[in-house]
Symmetry: C2
Subunit: 139 residues, 2 copies
Amino acid sequence: MQNYKTRLKEYRLKATPQRMYMIEEIEKRGHIDIDTLYESLKNIFPYISLATVYKNINSMTENGFLTEVKIPKLKTRYELSKEDHAHLLCRECGKLTDISVESEPMTKNAQLKSGYKIEKTLVTFEGICPACQKKDKGK
Amino acid sequence: MQNYKTRLKEYRLKATPQRMYMIEEIEKRGHIDIDTLYESLKNIFPYISLATVYKNINSMTENGFLTEVKIPKLKTRYELSKEDHAHLLCRECGKLTDISVESEPMTKNAQLKSGYKIEKTLVTFEGICPACQKKDKGK
DNA sequence: CTGACTGCAAACGTTTTGCACGGTA
DNA sequence: TACCGTGCAAAACGTTTGCAGTCAG
């Protein structure tokens, strides 16, 4: 928590209550879309404006404090920026989670093949989570 | 070309001139966003409506003829659906290209680790393309 | 000939902007 | 105290819808 205050300072952003709670909420959920975040915030700040949510998301995303997560057919979500990781999406229940993977061999290969200097590798897996697999068997 | 007519039929879509040209344009460019596509189409069909472009993109995406490509900070683009492949984005010139990679080892690993039944793996590389690397050296 | 598609205009939803006030540093 | 951030309202933007006429199959 105090941690975030310090990090915000590095980014020249003030630690307003609204902003702090946004960060807490994003951390708690892992990934969140604008609407869900707004609804959540209204419980704590009944008069909060959607514009404030957008402004904060934008300022925190521009400087890298937050990261955009775009997945086909889903609303854009946001997460706290952290070490590289892949995303796992369950096609059935829609749950989105993080997972760490070894992507270097693949990346190195792509780099050789293409001549690109690759700086970042984004990976998303789509499938069925364990819980939904169980449910499906029951049918 | 005739090829696409047949494929459209499978999807129960009519081969209108507008739609055929959209497909040609998407094939030619590889990936394209709505606005660029609309501008392109206006050269051929001066009275074409943006609504038509949206309707066609949606109908062709829903049934899998086209695939959405979502990348952080970029407008959504569309490509013809084809065998799995990764995307390479140049951070400098913005060029987006396809590349085939061996992602199975990584996917298998993620599957074991997570217990998910993984059906699809999406991979995007971000970096600097060979041409831009050369340009940069000159500076 | 019939249903699907087109173009147009209006509606709708999402995101951004300008401004006056208030709060953080 | 000086700015940055907030809330509000309006504007801007992107996407969808309804409809009447047209075209592909």
